[in-house]
Symmetry: C2
Subunit: 398 residues, 2 copies
């Protein structure tokens, strides 16, 4: 019998995907260069040369049996060590290769992390606005995702709601900073306060509460934003990283889990990842790509375009009267829509060939996301359309 | 709280892995060339040049944003179409790209297949001897793997036991031909009989019973063995393929699911794979490798060494008095041990630097597996050790 659970999921379409498909179809009519497609979070800059060179060198100079051979179930030891060294150097941590588990991107990392520290029926908390795929990631593992309402003032943490929702059933808190969709970076104070409350509650309930930190945007930080590292604030932290955005290789499905060495049974958790993999058919990311990222572990693509784009858009949005928290990183911005229902707002924007994503699926109705991982030239060309849209639909400088 | 289920699994060590680790350690003492390591099923021939050339061409001649970009959740359409065409041409099927789902090897394929057609509590049947990883693949999905005892006469199917065990709770039957560990290829009669019984029982129970066909060794067939394609025998077949063995790229984690177009709701099943992926953090195999295998979809490595090795070993084993069914494919052979407890037999073999794997973990005690994916020169050098082992421990020509 066909599994009902997955069949039922087929009905629910992804709003982002639908908008992206619309943009592609519209592009066929008027030329894609004339569609201001802010729907998809796809890197818009090429992978660094060093990554390409590393892959070619592996293929041409190394033993193919080793390059294409099975990876050990926890990842290739030399790769894990290079990841650990890089994190230690940058963030003053004391990881060894034994605290690292190589994954198929952040999605694979979160799939393992949630299975590590929850049993079916347990709760995982996250904060709106949040990446909508957290729902299938968590809910299909057997645990249940609960969403703390947004602090729309500055998209930090709504601590009042958090404390109320952090019940005994919560085994993990899932955060994402720099944040998709808000672009906000959690402050030191936010992380300290989060750690303080979680430590107190863990003590009160007599069980550990883990912090799962989803960090694919860690390297995309803008001027004036202090670089922090979540795991420094809370021992029981499982960091989930992806090279998708930093190296512009989202299709190569490569990332890792780093368990804080101070975490209780840290090395056991990493070993358990290998057992979880057996059940979900993961069996390591590709050997070739593991070996290549190890050669480029401290590299990034030229990420400066994202900050350039953000500054252009932020300035224009504020000028047009939008309420908008200035992003500290990522390639997203999350302004308040100019009418209550952001779905209607985004629907109207399509008439101006502006593809904006309503905040509803991010758990934050009334706001909308713009993914400005596009050419700066196109961002600039989109401004007259944005102005025309706002002025026509909502009056000059609302 | 750390998930008890996965923590408890840490105790159980893999016999194959332990033996492989022993062989490596022993190799450090006496030189690895002197250890006759028949433990691991790792391809021993390099990937075809065409595969390497395809990867380099993608990196040097194509747009990196496309090559390294996100794959659609069901796989890259052009890749899926090439897979379908190749299968149609070779096996007279009528797949389209819509019947193909790209996976991280056969492990990923089986992880999706079992979730497609079972609910927690359902049963999946397989036949001894079987690949031991089937247990975590099935059991951790929530379904439960039941093993039909071996037909030790010829390692086809024990139909008496099969019919008794094919109860109403069984939603899928998982087969593996050519078989790891026996090297046996199911005959046309076996497949026809299997299909007949499954069709009858499905009708009797009023629910579908799916055939999940695990086919990583499909291209490693020896002289005189008729090439068949499982899906031709039974409509409700989900074929699970891996390029690991045919292209000697096990570390690149690439394979696919092909759902027979005559299967009920075939395209729905493929779409459901995309939903299952969201829950297990799979999100497609790497784009680069998908694109590269599409260029090499009808290629294989030079696989002839496996047949050469099999013939040498089979002849010697028979000469030494072993009961042994001649393999029709793969790079495994599965003789009967010369004493009742194959674990003791294999333990004694270690004294002759012969690394053999007892059949117990394959669900077939009293037998042992030799993985002859090693250089022919080494197979030949192992024969005196094999002779000495048998003659010393069990008398001349037992």
């Amino acid at each position: 019998m066909i599994a009902a659970k997955y069949k039922e999921m087929l009905g629910a379409k992804s709003v982002i995907r639908e908008l992206s498909e619309y943009a592609t179809a519209r592009g066929k009519e008027i030329g894609y260069e004339n569609v201001f497609d802010y729907s998809l979070g796809n890197p818009s800059v090429p992978a660094p040369e060093k990554f390409k060179e590393a892959v070619i060198k592996l293929l041409t100079e190394c033993n193919p049996m080793e390059v294409h051979g099975y990876s050990p179930s926890l990842g290739i030891p030399s790769v894990k060590e290079k990841v650990a060294e890089s994190l230690n150097k940058r963030f003053g941590m004391n990881y060894t290769g034994k605290h690292i588990f190589m994954t198929a991107g952040a999605a694979g990392a979160i799939a393992h992390a949630v299975r590590l520290v929850t049993e079916p029926g347990d709760e995982v908390l996250t904060f709106a606005p949040f990446f909508p795929e957290y729902h299938p990631y968590i809910d299909l593992s057997g645990a249940s995702l609960k969403v703390v309402p947004a602090d729309t003032e500055n998209f930090q943490v709504n601590f009042g709601c958090f404390e109320r929702m952090l019940t005994e059933k919560v085994m993990a808190v899932l955060i994402n900073t720099p944040n998709n969709p808000s672009g906000i970076v959690y402050t030191k104070e936010t992380l300290e306060n989060l750690a303080k409350i979680m430590t107190e509650k863990a003590k009160e309930y007599g069980h550990d509460i883990y912090l799962i930190s989803d960090e694919p945007y860690r390297e995309i930080l803008f001027a004036g934003v202090e670089e922090g590292y979540v795991s420094q604030f809370y021992d029981n932290t499982i960091s989930c990283y992806s090279f998708s955005k930093s190296l512009s290789i989202p299709g190569e499905r490569i990332g890792y889990i780093a368990v804080n060495p101070a975490c209780k049974e840290a090395e056991t958790l990493i070993s358990m990842c290998g057992q979880i993999s057996r059940g979900i058919g993961h069996n390591c990311p590709t050997s070739l790509i593991q070996l290549a990222v190890a050669e480029a572990v401290d590299e990034t693509s030229d990420l400066s375009v994202y900050e350039t784009n953000m500054n252009i858009l932020y300035k224009e949005l504020v000028k047009l009267g939008f309420t908008c928290v200035k992003p500290g990183g990522t390639f997203y911005i999350f302004p308040k829509a100019l009418e209550e229902d952001a779905k209607i707002f985004c629907q109207k924007a399509k008439n101006y060939d502006l593809i904006l994503v309503p905040g509803d699926s991010f758990g934050c109705p009334g706001y909308f996301r713009m993914a400005y991982c596009i050419d700066t030239e196109k961002v600039e060309r989109s401004l007259p359309a944005l102005r025309k849209f706002v002025e026509t639909e909502y009056g000059t400088k609302k």
